[in-house]
């Protein structure tokens, strides 16, 4: 890489007016092609100026690319959420940030940069976790694009968008576009919540993080990573130098680094460094700027097509594009099937009419008789509340007093319950309770909740 790289290309003269600025984009958007679906294609000026409100998660490696691409594809109203602040190590690929921005909020700096660079786009930054926002917040978007680095955050937004879908309200339906990269590999996928395979259905596409047996860490470490993991899992727990490990606190990482270094010396292992310690503890995956660019570009093109109907997009028949640059280039686009037993989208809560004045015992007996349930030994829980568990014995005894309580005392109208039964095998049920009559609270001699 020490020799200069030649980049050639034609640079068009910059256009001075707003009208010509989007001319090339409009050619694509306003002229229907052989693949354009005539039922939904709208070439009008109104459709062009009304590009939808879009939400981007993450303003990191992928997020920077996505924001830039969206702004340059004519999207006008964008929100971006990222809880992170800018670190020196981000600057090699997260090109919206400069040295002077280190320590600032990624979302805020990225929004400001793109707004300044691309006239007419409005980007609203949110410097918080995606989980801090509620359903009302997510209702305002038409499309969601994720450039996230964690599976947990992806699962959260996925189940939130699936839950949002309300058949009485077309606006509750929000396609989710998800990009992810790891070294030379990456994927883009489009999810139509409740309609097509969701992130939870596709969880087995993520290779689990390789773990080393605890006894290897404890007795025969062979690699610098083993020493760091030992310091992270065992030495920290034993010595508790600080009340809670904060991966972003340099003092904490330094403590782990010194512990790991001492242990490595004991076993004649070399290679423990501060940055490796940080990498192992924070599970940092090597990011390559160009892979981010490829994946972000494909995500944004799908967003453009979904928003404009200019061409068919990923999502319906095929919904997953994998890209691997590990061995030359290989890409494959396929349909990931929806799973019937997916705990998020395969198992939507069904409505269940129930009289809140029944006791829990009577309700459970009625479940056995209902054609839609036919359960012999159902165990029932609501969110944060165990109503009745048939097993294990200690839990059965603890929850048995609930059997005499009224359903209305235990749950509210519209609450969801999870019902499991060993006779069901892999399937379990979720029901949304609909009270068929007014709940009459028991007199003072009744059970207090």
């Amino acid at each position: 890489m020490s020799q200069p790289v030649m980049v050639s290309g034609t640079i068009l003269a910059p256009s001075s007016t707003m009208a010509t600025r989007w001319q090339y984009l409009d050619n694509v958007r306003r002229n229907s092609g052989p693949f354009t679906d005539p039922d939904v294609f709208d070439a009008s000026e109104a459709a062009a100026t009304n590009m939808e409100q879009i939400n981007v998660f993450g303003a990191g490696g992928l997020g920077c690319e996505i924001l830039k691409n969206l702004a340059l594809s004519g999207f006008k109203k964008i929100h971006v959420i990222d809880m992170d602040t800018i670190d020196v190590s981000n600057l090699n690929r997260q090109f919206l940030f400069r040295q002077s921005d280190v320590g600032e909020s990624k979302a805020e700096v990225a929004a400001k940069f793109v707004e300044k660079r691309v006239k007419g786009v409005s980007i609203t930054p949110h410097n918080c976790k995606i989980q801090d926002k509620d359903e009302d917040f997510y209702m305002q978007f038409t499309l969601v694009i994720c450039g996230l680095d964690s599976i947990e955050a992806r699962r959260w937004i996925n189940s939130t968008l699936v839950d949002l879908v309300d058949m009485n309200n077309p606006d509750s339906f929000k396609p989710l576009i998800d990009g992810g990269t790891e070294g030379f590999k990456g994927q883009s996928r489009v999810i139509y919540p409740t309609m097509t395979s969701c992130i939870e259905c596709q969880l087995d596409m993520h290779a689990p993080r390789a773990a080393v047996p605890l006894c290897t860490l404890a007795t025969i470490p062979r690699q610098p990573e083993h020493c760091i993991e030992w310091a992270h899992i065992m030495a920290w727990e034993q010595e508790k130098p600080f009340p809670k490990l904060d991966n972003d606190d340099p003092e904490h990482i330094t403590w782990l680094y010194k512990k790991a270094l001492a242990r490595a010396a004991e076993f004649n292992i070399t290679g423990v460094t501060y940055s490796l310690t940080q990498g192992v503890v924070k599970n940092i995956i090597p990011a390559i700027a160009s892979t981010n660019a490829i994946i972000a570009a494909s995500c944004c093109n799908e967003a453009f097509k979904i928003a404009t109907n200019a061409n068919p997009a990923l999502g319906g028949e095929e919904n997953y594009m994998m890209y691997s640059g590990n061995d030359s280039i290989y890409t494959y686009t396929f349909k990931h099937e929806k799973k019937d037993d997916c705990p998020v989208c395969g198992n939507m809560a069904k409505n269940l009419d129930v009289d809140p004045n029944l006791t829990l015992q009577e309700f459970i007996e009625s479940l056995a008789a209902r054609p839609e349930a036919q359960l012999k030994k159902p165990s029932i829980r609501a969110e944060g509340r165990t109503l009745y568990m048939q097993s294990p014995e200690s839990l059965r005894l603890q929850t048995a007093p609930n059997l005499e309580k009224k359903v209305g005392d235990l749950v509210g109208n519209g609450d969801e319950i999870g019902v499991t039964d060993p006779s069901l095998g892999r399937v379990d049920f979720k029901f949304r309770l609909k009270f068929t009559s007014e709940f009459v609270k028991a007199e003072t001699n009744g059970h207090a909740k």
């Binding site: 839950d163 080393v212 047996p213 899992i233 979904i306 048939q390 839990l395 109208n413 949304r432």
Partner: protein
């Protein structure tokens, strides 16, 4: 977008599914539903008991094992289970709350059981872990040592190891380490 929605409506009609009820209320999370399912399928033998400090929080519970055979017969061993919202994609965190003499459990209560770490898979369930824990007491294993000295004792001198187990279970001292009394 309109097109997708009309496809959605058609799918809904085909499935003859219910429309969502207006207001949104509390939902059951996937992790909780899975734990509920695992618990309701649990078939515990008389040597094992669970205890839930808060029955409404099924993601946190204690397990007591009282082996009725093997070298640890007559002991009562306590473990805590802490399950995250990422279950079953992440294994539960299991710890022994007592200081015991065991080749696969260290003095801090960390447990070396393959399915708790490197071999965990979402298809495994709580029952598999509980059976695995019980097995550690029936067949302590010197080749995956977490307490190196105990493993060395087991490997080199099985009778001596047995004596050490007995005296540690009674609250005695083995090689300058005093253990907790765990006899019933």
């Amino acid at each position: 977008m309109l097109k997708i929605w009309s496809m959605k409506q058609k799918q809904q009609q085909d499935a003859n599914a219910d429309a969502a009820a207006g207001t949104r209320k509390k939902k059951v999370t996937a992790a909780q539903l899975r734990v509920q399912k695992d618990l309701s399928e649990l078939a515990l033998p008389s040597t094992m008991k669970t205890e839930f400090p808060d029955p409404d929080d099924i993601l946190y519970f204690n397990l007591t094992i009282e082996p009725d055979e093997g070298m640890y017969k007559g002991g009562r061993f306590h473990f805590t289970f802490a399950i995250s919202q990422n279950f079953p994609h992440e294994a539960p965190k299991v710890k022994c709350t007592q200081k015991i003499y065991h080749p696969n459990i260290d003095l801090e209560g960390n447990v070396c059981l393959n399915i708790l770490r490197e071999d965990w898979k979402p298809v495994l369930n709580l029952n598999a872990i509980i059976v695995g824990l019980q097995f550690l007491f029936l067949e302590p294993n010197a080749s995956d040592p977490l307490n190196k000295e105990a493993a060395e004792d087991l490997r080199s001198n099985r009778e001596g190891f047995k004596r050490n187990v007995r005296s540690s279970m009674g609250g005695g001292t083995v090689k300058n380490q005093t253990f907790e009394r765990v006899l019933k």
